[in-house]
Symmetry: C2
Subunit: 528 residues, 2 copies
């Protein structure tokens, strides 16, 4: 067996004080990738937290320009090493190298890093607020301590713990990051962290600003997020693991931002089906099977009203599911999770329309799967029937009428997204007006006539939603500058002398930062 | 014994399904006020939560104009009944009727209600964000469900559970409130709720928009904040009770905003003492003894550098403490809490400079108290020596030098405020530059040359801070519109037809609401 890879702690790559090792698999072959990774001990995690706390104090002197330079240099370095990164991520994730990893995910990742740099420099995230009569001024600025980032399996670049959305948001706010790599792509994380360290050196930042470990025991993970010296945690992944971390962080009073499971209900109203059933079946099939369904915003439930059009629509979707190739899943655990979830749904009364078998494609895989259940049955066991099957699966809920459709909406848990499809002629408008207000407060993002899987990285995006989709309905994991607020504290200055204020709160405003001055937005100077 | 007062549930005053009763005291006489109040059962609390959930769904149709009308009508009605309210609050709290309750606190309370109405109408809190290329739009809007508000004992009006800051913020965001009165002023809360109900009737809002109970067991309180149908909780009060509620809410994934204890450290640097020792002693004495020290932002720790000026300053403060009248405390529990805390501080090594005896004034009271401890001793037991003595008490920490002063700052828990006094000539500037960055991230509000007790109700105020001062460093309990964000969710609209959007997100913007459009603030229309 080869030697375990090194961890990045306090600015240096070094052998891990490992409490064990693990081997990642290539999901396309079901075979180990040939690399060995360490499981970090509590001592090692604690050392990282302490180094991050020191870096957190030091980093204030480099904010925003030094931090922004680092983020941009890091983005450049990622692009310079793109081929190697894409090859490694493809080996570890099974995701298509050219169409997904190289063409979409890598540019998104470097784009996020550059957006965070721009938001730091332009101070667009800090919401400076000034009241001249009382001479009180406030803004958001970095919390104290490092941010632990636990990345998910499904985006080896864009949500990577040392390069993805949470990383960019934390760094952009001025916080060091301790990355806990997702165990399914430790090699990709390692290559990214190598570039991060070189970028830190090139830009003169504290070297403990980015650290990387690969795996911990549950116990060590819980101690990490609740350490007195940690600042906050960003977590994207399974509900069970996330809630265990949340419980530990909550007791310690440490902010933790979770992006957990979501089934993303889609209502397709009768007029829409009558108008464009085939087109919607196309959209749905593409959205649900893209990336083998392994998106947080995958449409896992479709609510339809009983009738011939619905039967026809379900048939059209079934055709597409049967005809589509069966994609590769990210890991063995995803495959077994699909089997477990589909069994749970069936036990709760859902019937299999198609699919339902593991290992139907190349490598880790599960056949493209559709289930169906009546609205009445859903209302008898809404909890079981909202079990997430993370992958290429969806459940049709066929309701008797609009009233039952509304009642189903009232029983949804918090979700990242919810969609309503209506016709263009207006026949669905009355139903929309009843469904939408109910769905609105169950979801972070409400869509019209559009599937939920595209998550644009724009300021207005909300990749968040009510519990248990996330831990708090006021925050988003995607979209800069809003996602940076998770790693800021509200910092108020009362009667503080002008030359001691952060530049964005001083009387003169040469950068033209937008500020809420005496209740109105202004980009000008303040006269006192 | 008289009959227990009625609770306000689901729009009607009615006899409580009480599991017990309690009698509030008049703190000035140590005698019961003569009124009897019920302890609400779990059934009653649950009924309130369910009525609030229904009101929460209904209230959306009345937002913002109906809600704003209600808040303004309620404020008018409070003013019309001011004499009776002030008399009741004086009886229940012992706070001075004309100088404090009538002149300061009641106008602040009605001002907050009117500010919340204006923020709702003007949509200044919702941060509308629009990206035209992707047609994604987002804003903050009301969370689903009612907000439970637990008010503190020290502001019978301005933080009252059915009229104070949390109430105004929740209503302003569009959420119904379930008030849990502070047990030391149930009568004041009852009179306020009477006016709230009349204001709801006058403005046609759902009558369950404001409900009131007076006390629950700990167990029922924990069930209330974690009920699946509650939206969120605002709590101001003791750390122990707050953390028990937080634990329950956290497990249920329900947001809870806590404003807990804070000792509000004040650094007085040597140059400042040399320049204006007497003036600072005056400021400190006034700040620490005002309201018998019963403010969340009372300066409970003063850090001074060893030397003759510091000895002299401590003597000057002692003179003022000895000469000042001993005020009345809000409740028997505050008096016994002072005794307990002072004993804890003494056991940890603090020495009594003056005071230290219970019952030294009229009614519930404790002598004006000063303690002192060395920096070295503080660093040996920083936890015990940060015990809050809620009332007319403060602890001097006398440090050897600047390095020790910095080390003390590193050991502070999260606080609402931190102050640094420096001289005007610049001799303290080097020390300031070392202390301030450390203190900055331990506190929500950093002050220069000013005591922390004034909390202006302005947009830039932060009455919040890192744990354990509050439960999350990103939120403030005072200051509109920011305090309203606690009761909002981030609501994103993706490809939603223009006429289905909230007015603040539509293309045309006749109200001139400030919106972040394509990355820049604008008050104009959007052209797509």
């Amino acid at each position: 067996m080869s030697k375990a890879q090194k961890v990045l702690i306090a600015g240096a790559w070094r052998d891990s004080d490992a409490s064990g090792t693990f081997e990642p698999n290539n999901p396309s072959t079901r075979e180990p990738t040939g690399e060995l990774y360490p499981v970090s001990s509590l001592d090692e995690a604690t050392e990282a937290v302490e180094a991050a706390a020191v870096a957190s104090e030091q980093l204030q002197a480099f904010y925003p320009d030094g931090v922004a330079n680092f983020l941009e240099t890091f983005a450049d370095r990622i692009e310079a090493r793109a081929d190697e990164l894409v090859a490694m991520a493809n080996t570890e994730s099974g995701l298509p190298a050219p169409t997904r990893l190289a063409a979409i995910e890598l540019p998104r990742t470097t784009g996020q890093l550059r957006q965070a740099a721009a938001a730091a420099r332009g101070r667009t995230w800090s919401l400076p607020t000034i009241d001249t009569a009382s001479n009180i001024r406030s803004m958001y600025s970095a919390i104290e301590g490092g941010v632990a980032v636990f990345g998910p399996n499904n985006f080896p670049f864009a949500f990577n713990s040392v390069a993805g959305g949470d990383f960019a948001a934390a760094l952009g706010a001025g916080c060091p990051v301790i990355g806990k790599a997702n165990s399914s792509h430790p090699g990709t994380s390692r290559l990214l962290a190598e570039e991060a360290l070189e970028a830190l050196k090139a830009t003169g930042l504290p070297l403990a600003t980015v650290q990387l470990i690969y795996r911990t025991s549950h116990d060590v993970g819980e101690k990490l997020v609740s350490d007195p010296k940690i600042g906050a945690t960003g977590y994207t992944g399974s509900r069970a693991a996330g809630l265990a971390l949340k419980a530990a962080a909550d007791v310690a009073g440490k902010p933790i931002y979770l992006e957990l499971s979501s089934i993303n209900p889609v209502y397709i109203l009768p007029g829409a089906l009558a108008e464009r059933s085939e087109a919607i079946a196309d959209e749905f099939g593409t959205s649900c099977l893209m990336g083998t369904g392994q998106f947080c915003t995958n449409p896992g439930i479709v609510v339809l009203q009983k009738g011939p059009s619905t039967d026809e629509f379900m048939g059209q979707v079934k055709e597409r599911f049967d005809a589509a190739p069966v994609g590769t899943l990210l890991a063995e655990g995803v495959e077994s999770g699909m089997s477990r979830s589909v069994a749970t749904l069936q036990q709760a009364g859902a019937e299999l329309l198609t699919g339902g078998s593991a290992g139907a494609g190349t490598g880790f895989s599960y056949s493209n799967t559709l289930l169906t259940v009546s609205g009445a049955q859903f209302l008898q066991d809404p909890e079981s029937l909202q079990t997430e099957a993370f992958g290429n699966e969806s459940l049709f809920i066929v309701v008797d009428d609009l009233d039952q459709g509304c009642e189903v909406a009232r029983h949804f848990e918090g979700n990242l997204t919810g969609c309503v499809y209506t016709d263009s002629g207006g026949s669905d408008d009355g139903a929309y007006d009843r469904i939408a207000p109910l769905l609105r407060r169950k979801v972070g993002r409400l869509l019209n006539d559009k599937m939920p899987t595209g998550v644009a990285v724009v300021p207005s995006m909300n990749h968040g939603g009510p519990y248990p989709a996330t831990g708090h309905p006021g925050f988003t994991a995607v979209g800069i500058p809003a996602s940076m607020l998770r790693f800021g504290m509200l910092a108020c200055y009362d009667n503080v002398r002008d030359d001691r204020l952060p530049v964005e709160l001083r009387d003169v405003n040469p950068g033209g930062v937008a500020r809420l001055v005496d209740g109105g937005w202004s980009t000008g100077d303040v006269s006192v």
